[in-house]
């Protein structure tokens, strides 16, 4: 079956099997930032924006992308660089494997919540697992990023 959608601002189309998940389709379409870390929607590594909302692409049939706007980190390179610098400044990206999904969700959070508290941040990002950093460095990066955004 054919599915048509907007991918990172450009029209995209693909011939898919009905049971194809969005994660696999996106990787087939060379969006390699989208990672698979589990089989059970627990890790957050495959987070993409679907019509602006953060979504787990491993749990979304690709057919449901029909007519929607899908954004991966490939489509948010400028924002990724801006926030990524804060993360790298803390050394908190470590192995980097969870970074794309985490950064997608941070960007979504910053768009959705105004001036979130630490507890709100932790709750919003609770589904983004990281085994390297112990999360503290990620939180420092977010706080510094928010501070600079607030100052602007």
């Amino acid at each position: 079956m054919e599915v048509k959608f907007q991918l990172n601002g450009k029209p995209a189309a693909a011939d898919i099997e009905p049971d194809c998940m969005l994660l696999d389709l996106l990787r087939d379409m060379r969006c390699y930032s989208v990672k698979r870390g589990c089989d059970t929607t627990n890790c957050g590594l495959c987070t993409v924006l679907v019509n602006g909302k953060p979504s787990l692409s491993c749990a979304m049939p690709a057919a449901r992308a029909e007519g929607k706007e899908i954004i991966t980190l490939e489509g948010l390179q400028e924002e990724a660089v801006v926030f990524g610098r804060f993360l790298a400044k803390e050394g908190a990206e470590q192995c980097g494997y969870c970074s794309p999904g985490f950064i997608m969700n941070v960007i979504a959070m910053m768009r959705e919540l105004k001036d979130p508290s630490i507890e709100e941040i932790k709750e919003y990002l609770a589904g983004n697992l990281c085994r390297c950093s112990g999360y503290e460095g990620q939180m420092r990066a977010i706080r510094n990023y928010m501070k600079e955004k607030g100052a602007q």
């Binding site: 930032s33 990724a80 790298a88 697992l129 990281c130 112990g134």
Partner: protein
């Protein structure tokens, strides 16, 4: 010195945070055969027959391989220096399966779907056998996990497959029984740590293909690039010269990838078919057929005199290596060698162990590598001893802990050449407000808070074994290539080694490019494990830079037509102060590419006869609900002595990450098996690692000593950081609730039942 001890961002950071395709699965050729493993549903069985005909008829299926397609020579998947201490006890596929999930057949085809369909059509006739599932009964059990005649141990580790023994040993100094008998205070208790998953975010994965020279090329997510080459050579029974292994970016390892978990399967397929092949484990496979921490049961006998001086420590460890012996004989050693020496005044010690085979998933290397288990036991016993004496446990630790300059008889007789453990304890007490909070505070709402503190040590590389070489060459325009065999797995060794090189060569970071790891190109390095990279490979960088600087000086002097002893090199130019003549490194770099007979590069190797321990103190504050036993971690403070801190931010994140993993081990994580040997811990649903809402606050600081044998005074940081949470949290829970939990994880049920019994 201006880059060492500064927080330089990782050299690969921007690629990682922008999601570039730099990991194994991102790089695999798109026409790879997809490889999957058919796994045993039985904990112990003989394979009578495997019918593959129907599976082979599925369109797109390339091959279905069984034990008949594999070499019958046994090998170990443990990534260790040859001759490996781990017994040669496995084949790629065997006619006996030894745990639920053990490999039965390898299926390769053009798509995931075709392979999944074919897998259902492979028919296996099993003769189901009784498994050995209780590790306490495994030694000398009538059922043998490895009855085969061609099982062999390369090293004298006390292994005996006819007794289900992977290793055993006993060492002793002084008359431990007499010393303990004479002690006024004495504790004897048994502690139980569980198998845990490293749970790095990138699952195990590998792809393979043949190159233009007819050699097997392997790209894999591994910590032990050179060991992979040897292990594949053993497994496939082909010469090492026929294999090339490349390590790209790695999505975390923590020791999991110090075992060759996936490499053999696509390698076998590519060797049989000549076609590119890849395997990417699902998270379920990474949970059920991998290389978790060794489960250990540790009995500690410890005694002190009337002044609170610890006179003797006796440790017996029973370790469960599971179906295969990967890292079995070596992890267990650390449970004594890296716990007993924390207490410098003991007059006698004994350390004995048995490592047994059972029919559960093979254990492997996991950050801390046995030290984590041993330190939970010994630190808990020391805390219990203090309570028996009516003494503040921290006071007892302060009276007895190892100090700089002390000889450590239980640590191979090494001397603590650098040790700021006393300062670590002093500072962590302040950070957690020990004197104010010990032992407990009733919160007045049915909840009680308690604090607990633990000490830890680890090593820095394996003494006399771990070997690292690096090569540095000068390129045109004078930039350097730093070529290493150490495997950055996210820890940042590509960066910290470049920092050291930049300081040694008096240049900026951007003058140095780092390359690693490719067994065809990189100089030999044992790999990134045993907390060796900063300490061992770092020293190889320092040595190589010294030699290279001399060569640059000589070459520059030649171009300036002056004697080298009169010339100087300042990182940017070679100059002759007397005549004022100079030549830039850029010009030297360009000139050596024209009419030059000596390559302007250097390569030095390093090993260390000692393994200087980093030290650490960690303190936990917990809140226990007296109604339910539910425990919440409020705060965790830690202070680390890793010698000179090469990159404070990276060291800090290593520490915070290790503590978070340690908190998972202490409170949540365990691999449970049912009565048939099947684990339910096969996803993040059942095997819960901490989220950012589960870890309270982690606060860390450094108290640096200076290690004279390390590069810039550095020791290791990677492993020690996982060792304090379990004993510190167990002690905090005791102080809050009066319940001593000696079996991890420390769950609400155990605390509740403990409170009920009282």
């Amino acid at each position: 010195m201006n880059l060492v001890n500064t927080s330089v961002p990782k050299v690969d950071s921007m690629a990682l945070v922008t999601g570039k395709p730099v990991y194994t699965d991102d790089l695999a050729p798109k026409d790879c055969l997809i490889v999957k493993v058919l796994r045993s549903p039985h904990a112990h069985a003989k394979i009578r027959k495997i019918e593959t005909e129907r599976a082979l008829k599925v369109p797109g299926i390339e091959c279905v391989l069984t034990h008949e397609d594999c070499s019958d020579k046994r090998f170990t998947m443990a990534g260790q220096t040859y001759p490996e201490p781990s017994p040669y006890d496995r084949r790629i596929l065997d006619d006996r399966v030894r745990f639920v999930g053990d490999a039965v057949a390898v299926i390769a085809g053009v798509s995931e779907k075709a392979v999944a369909k074919a897998m259902k059509l492979v028919k296996v006739d099993y003769e189901v056998l009784e498994p050995v599932l209780d590790f306490r009964k495994a030694k000398d059990h009538e059922i043998l996990v490895h009855p085969e005649e061609n099982w062999k141990a390369l090293c004298e580790v006390g292994a005996d497959n006819k007794r289900n023994l992977c290793a055993r040993s006993e060492t002793q100094e002084g008359d431990i029984d007499q010393v303990l008998k004479d002690c006024k205070y004495y504790v004897e208790e048994t502690y139980h740590t569980k198998a845990n998953q490293q749970a790095m975010m990138e699952n195990f994965c590998t792809f393979t293909h043949m190159d233009a020279y007819g050699r097997l090329n392997v790209v894999s997510s591994t910590q032990v690039t050179f060991h992979v080459r040897r292990i594949l050579s053993n497994a496939l029974d082909i010469p090492k010269s026929k294999i090339r292994v490349v390590k790209p970016r790695i999505g975390g390892g923590f020791g999991a990838k110090q075992t060759v978990v996936t490499e053999v399967y696509p390698a076998l397929v590519t060797m049989k078919t000549g076609k590119p092949a890849k395997i990417v484990y699902t998270r379920e496979e990474s949970f059920i057929a991998s290389s978790p921490r060794h489960e250990m049961e540790i009995t500690v006998r410890i005694g002190a005199d009337e002044n609170g001086i610890i006179k003797g420590i006796d440790v017996y460890t029973l370790s469960n290596t599971g179906a295969y012996g990967e890292h079995g004989p070596t992890t267990v050693g650390l449970s004594g060698h890296k716990s007993i020496p924390l207490y410098g005044k003991a007059e006698a010690f004994r350390f004995a162990y048995d490592v047994v085979y059972t029919n559960v998933m093979s254990a492997g290397a996991y950050r801390g590598y046995g030290a984590t288990q041993g330190i939970f036991a010994v630190e808990s016993a020391v805390n219990e001893l203090a309570h028996k004496m009516g003494m503040d446990p921290v006071k007892l630790k302060e009276l007895n802990m190892v100090k700089k300059g002390q000889k450590m008889p239980a640590y191979y007789g090494e001397t603590a050449t650098s040790c700021a453990l006393d300062k670590c304890v002093e500072r962590v007490k302040e950070m957690i407000s020990w004197d104010e909070k010990y032992p407990r505070k009733d919160m007045g709402n049915g909840k009680v808070r308690g604090v607990g503190l633990a000490l830890a040590m680890q090593g820095s590389g394996i003494s006399n074994v771990d070997t690292a070489a690096v090569t540095i060459k000068v390129n045109d325009d004078g930039f350097y290539s730093l070529i290493i065999g150490a495997s950055d797995m996210g820890t940042g060794c590509d960066t910290i080694l470049a920092q050291m090189a930049a300081d040694c060569l008096d240049c900026d970071m951007d003058q140095i490019i780092v390359h690693g790891v490719d067994t065809d190109v990189s100089p030999y390095d044992t790999g990134s494990y045993a907390s060796s990279t900063t300490y061992v490979t770092g020293m190889a960088v320092v040595k190589t830079c010294e030699v290279l600087k001399e060569k640059i000086l000589k070459k520059g002097a030649q171009y300036l037509s002056c004697p080298p002893e009169e010339a100087e090199f300042d990182g940017k130019r070679v100059f002759h102060p007397e005549s004022g003549k100079e030549i830039s490194l850029k010009d030297i770099g360009n000139q050596v590419m024209c009419g030059n007979e000596e390559a302007l590069q250097a390569s030095e190797s390093h090993y260390s006869p000692t393994s200087p321990p980093p030290f650490m103190a960690g303190a936990a504050e917990v809140e226990v609900d007296l109604e339910t036993g539910a425990v919440e971690l409020i705060d965790f403070a830690a202070v680390v002595d890793c010698g000179t801190v090469i990159n404070p931010n990276l060291a800090k994140v290593q520490t915070e990450g290790g503590i978070a993993q340690g908190i998972g081990m202490a409170l949540y994580e365990e691999i449970l098996y049912n009565e048939k040997g099947k684990t339910s811990a096969n996803s993040f649903m059942q095997y819960k690692i901490p989220t950012r809402q589960d870890i309270g606050n982690i606060r860390i600081e450094f108290q640096s000593s200076y290690e004279p044998t390390g590069p810039f005074g550095a020791k290791s940081i990677g492993e020690i950081v996982i060792n304090t949470p379990s004993p510190a949290i167990a002690e905090a829970v005791y102080n809050a609730s009066g319940v001593r939990v000696r079996e991890l994880p420390i769950t609400a049920e155990k605390i509740y039942m403990g409170m009920k019994e009282k």
